[in-house]
């Protein structure tokens, strides 16, 4: 029962998440809020782990969520279901490549989906910011943001700095 629910949830994430990278996060937070398979805090931890382990974050979190819900079988089901829509769509599109690229309806849909995906991710960002960022966090965020304006770097650069700041802040007793 739980496996079919996992299949349904992650298949629909794979089918509907648009904009890559973190586009799966709005869906995953929605699950945390309404399904209670894991908490928002656990999800934030998972995302932190996912960012420092190999592989796309979407896949990592799917594997994680599946494992939390139904063990190793759960992670197998969740990971397979999140990539299954991609597989099906890519097979179809590869055969109709030229039509797909030139179709006006496809273009109009993508044109609408882009700002939607952006808005969904922005909403998650704002939500995370409001719910679990203290003054020190805001300061760190600001510093990282300024650094990114000066020169755009590899994601690991920012994660490395923030991990070090986290350790220092913790050892100095700023994190409670």
């Amino acid at each position: 029962m739980i496996l079919s629910q996992l299949f349904f949830e992650f298949f629909h994430i794979g089918l509907l998440s648009f904009g890559g990278g973190y586009a799966t996060l709005p869906f995953l937070y929605h699950i945390a809020e309404f399904k209670h398979w894991y908490t928002a805090k656990q999800l934030t931890d998972m995302i932190a782990v996912s960012s420092i382990t190999p592989g796309p974050v979407g896949i990592n979190v799917a594997t994680f969520a599946g494992f939390k819900t139904a063990g190793i079988l759960g992670s197998l089901v969740a990971t397979t279901s999140i990539v299954l829509p991609s597989f099906i769509l890519v097979l179809i599109i590869s055969r109709l490549l030229e039509q797909f690229k030139q179709n006006k309806y496809v273009r109009s849909i993508i044109y609408t989906l882009k700002p939607t995906g952006c808005a969904l991710l922005a909403a998650v960002g704002v939500d995370m910011f409001v719910n679990n960022t203290n003054v020190l966090g805001m300061f760190l965020l600001l510093v990282l943001f300024v650094l990114s304006l000066i020169e755009k770097r590899d994601p690991l650069f920012y994660l490395g700095i923030s991990a070090v700041v986290g350790i220092l802040a913790g050892l100095l007793g700023f994190l409670g």
Partner: protein
């Protein structure tokens, strides 16, 4: 090197292992593996698949791998490429997931997670900024962003519903444009008459 199920799987497995900090780095990694080292595909085609990967739902790195795999060896190639790109993260996470609760309990790790959490938030904002620059180009896209943001942030409408609504809106926009175009043509004809 010959394109077989196994060699494609191995190549993408390697790329999957190197894919740290999110899927964005897949393009340069595939360039070095497939274009420079193996000469399986040319750079232009690869960039096109990258763009295509973004116009399909799901994880971009997986979409792109599937496109490239299909190009290399049909359905079998797509399966090999997807399996290869997903496998390293699957293995890594299954190993870590067992220990996560114990690890998270440690004070020291909590400090790191606190920091990395802020770093991730920063990456999310960077992603939003990047998407914003590519997607908010006119009044229409600004309104779409505005409504989607309000409905998602304030009304907690599920992301799936909003995406499906956006798909319908896109279809509606194109149909309306066609109807308008026909109307203009009609008017022109009347004027000619």
């Amino acid at each position: 090197m010959e394109k077989t199920f196994y060699s494609i799987f191995k190549t993408f497995f390697k790329v999957g292992t190197l894919l740290l900090g999110g899927g964005y780095v897949i393009l340069p990694l595939l360039q070095s593996e497939l274009v420079d080292k193996k000469d399986w595909i040319d750079n232009e085609e690869l960039c096109e698949f990258y763009a295509l990967g973004q116009s399909v739902p799901g994880v971009i790195a997986v979409n792109m791998s599937a496109f490239v795999g299909y190009k290399l060896l049909g359905i079998r190639g797509a399966i090999a490429a997807m399996g290869g790109i997903v496998m390293p993260s699957f293995i890594a996470i299954v190993i870590i997931a067992r220990m996560l609760d114990e690890i998270v309990g440690l004070k020291f790790i909590q400090y790191i997670f606190w920091g990395v959490g802020i770093g991730v938030l920063m990456l999310i904002f960077l992603a939003v900024k990047e998407m914003w620059m590519k997607s908010i180009v006119d009044r229409y896209s600004s309104w779409v962003f505005f409504f989607a943001f309000i409905l998602s942030a304030c009304c907690k409408v599920s992301p799936g519903i909003l995406i499906v609504a956006a798909i319908f809106l896109g279809i509606f926009r194109e149909s309306k444009r066609r109807v308008d175009a026909v109307k203009i043509e009609d008017n022109n004809e009347e004027e000619c008459l």
